[in-house]
Point group: C2
Chain length 343, copies 2
DNA sequence: GGTTAGCACTCTGCTTACGAGAGTGCTAAA
DNA sequence: TTTAGCACTCTCGTAAGCAGAGTGCTAACC
């Protein structure tokens, strides 16, 4: 299905105007605003045709038109002008990243803030992670009696801590020896290469306490990114008129809970390389039915990577969203590349 | 100012009914519901008197009465029945704590969930901390080139991490030696005992990189608890009728942001030992004007301690709130005591 | 003197009515 | 194919009317 040039232009105007004003667009106001060389009656005919194609709808007779999900889809894939950020906009973003410390976690958080602020919608960013996480180093620190603090450093350059309880009291000396032994044995291994519970028999009791804790930590780390995306800008989004009714607001508030989003982010839709757009009920039904995702991957091809993007009502400035998501993803990728290559 | 027994009883009924129904209470409905041996006219007279005392108000002529902030204050300090949790309720809570792992962080999170669920309001819990934090142990782990991971263990039994950048490349061996030296010198010191920037001259360059990072981490740790209380149950609270209008909801959503709450929690009001109640504009003005806090301290007298409590509309079930906050605080304190004494 | 019945008065919230405004669909003419 | 014209429809804001709930006051009662 391809529209005539004129019909496409009219659809684009409807989408643009609606994104802008959040009110249904009538034939007359369209002609006035865009100085089409046409009468409102002609536009009405074209609109009727667009409605037959399923690209726009009526909220009710005698109201203006609003884009349907299919209309948005057609718009983003055939009509939307390719837009990149101006160098001014790029500079503003870069500046913020350069002001931040060189901590990876901070960049990720910053990426979320930048997206939320620029797009007035919810920004989603997952922590970067390696598909396989390896144990880099573990340390044991005496706490009290038979307790010790376990610090695990993993290849995705995060440190994780946990208190352990041993069957008997272990002093720092014994703990250090134990740590050295385990580092030698398990250093640079992935979870998959760890002994399973049954094979653990040959290990001593203290060893197996540590090993199973490490195992658990690594496992959790492998899933951590998916479990808790950073969510920023919820209030920004809720300020938009589609959420004006408090019921809708509460439902949405529930839907953008980190824990909910874990399962709901349609990461499958993400192709390689570019930005993916998921519109309305292209997602599974439910609370996201009238919302769209604009998503991209970031990170290093062979190395750690994550996902970032925006969530907002289907009436979203897709052009801006794509441009911002793409740029921030590029910046983050570049920063990680430099970190990896040691400047 | 002390009310007559009857007048007090009437005030208590008004407060109770209003907490329950969220609609202004009229003289007639009061008589009907509580089988007072009085006519509505008499109750009206008493209500007029209570209004003169400033304990209740009219939203407008010919509406029922609602408690004023002063009315709530009188209620909680003189009228409210002392309530403790039933053993059933206690058991349910204890059960949840026993199901959780023995991690302190998890308990704190759990305390927030329990309060939020039981009271349908926002639960606030700060991480426990020592008033003075001491450096227990530091470790350095080689990352790449001139970068290393610094792991700092503090006396409040938390580990903290940060990447460092040295002027020159340091290998694990050198890093370990450096760590050993610094541990010997700074182990068990508080921030206050650290050398200030000027005195740092005698240290080598690598040393001073580490020391200033540790210093910063300890400082941040000393304030961490105040900065980011755990906030749970926002949606529960927003479901209540006082937030039915979307503007109010957005304002409140902003007010319960972790970063906002840091400064707003009226921790000064908290006496020793028992639960503090802060009602309405007894807090500084602004978004908390029509909200109340019910707060308590938890933790060990000489050791780590924190704050926990509830935030909700002034129309809050104060009796339940106090009972729950007190009990959860006791449970948390007891758990920490056991942890400290090594079971 | 405290208590109560009675009554006029008031304010909200809901329903109904109505007109202005914006928009559509259709027909017939250009 | 485009457009002018027109009847029709739906929303939204305002006003009016009315039931319901509540108050304040007065006068009578115990």
């Amino acid at each position: 299905m391809a529209l005539s040039e004129r019909r496409g232009r009219i659809l684009a105007f409807i989408v643009d105007d609606f994104i802008d004003s959040a009110t249904p667009i009538g034939s007359q106001s369209l002609v006035e605003r865009h100085a089409l060389g046409l009468s409102s009656a002609t536009v009405r005919n074209e609109m009727a045709a667009l409605e037959d194609e399923g690209l726009i709808t009526h909220p009710h007779t005698s109201a203006g038109r609003i884009p349907s999900h299919r209309g948005y889809r057609y718009y983003v894939s055939s009509l939307m002008p390719e837009r990149n950020l101006s160098s001014q906009e790029q500079f503003t973003i870069l500046h913020q990243f350069h002001q931040a410390s060189g901590q990876l976690e901070e960049w990720v958080q910053l990426a979320a803030s930048v997206l939320a602020n620029n797009l007035h919608n919810v920004a989603l960013v997952t922590q970067p992670r390696l598909l396989e996480v390896r144990l880099k180093h573990l340390q044991l620190v005496e706490l009290l009696d038979n307790r010790a603090l376990l610090v695990v450093v993993t290849t995705d350059s995060g440190a994780h801590q946990r208190t352990l309880e041993f069957p008997v009291t272990m002093h720092q000396e014994a703990l250090s020896r134990l740590a050295t032994r385990l580092n030698a044995e398990f250093g640079n291994k992935t979870v998959a290469e760890f002994p399973s519970r049954e094979d653990a028999a040959p290990l001593g009791e203290a060893e197996s306490v540590v090993v199973s804790a490490v195992r658990e930590l690594l496992l959790r780390e492998e899933q951590a990114a998916v479990e808790a995306p950073i969510v920023e800008g919820v209030r920004e989004m809720l300020r938009q008129p589609e959420f004006g009714h408090s019921d809708r607001m509460l439902d949405t508030l529930e839907a953008v809970d980190e824990r909910r989003l874990r399962d709901a982010i349609p990461s499958g839709a993400m192709g390689e390389g570019d930005v993916a757009i998921v519109i309305g009920d292209e997602n599974r039904a439910g609370p996201y039915q009238d919302m769209s995702f604009v998503l991209a991957r970031y990170g290093l091809p062979g190395g750690a990577s994550g996902m970032l993007g925006v969530l907002g009502p289907t009436r979203m400035a897709y052009g801006d969203a794509v441009a911002n998501v793409r740029y921030v993803s590029d910046v983050l990728t570049e920063l990680m590349r430099r970190l990896h290559e040691g400047e």
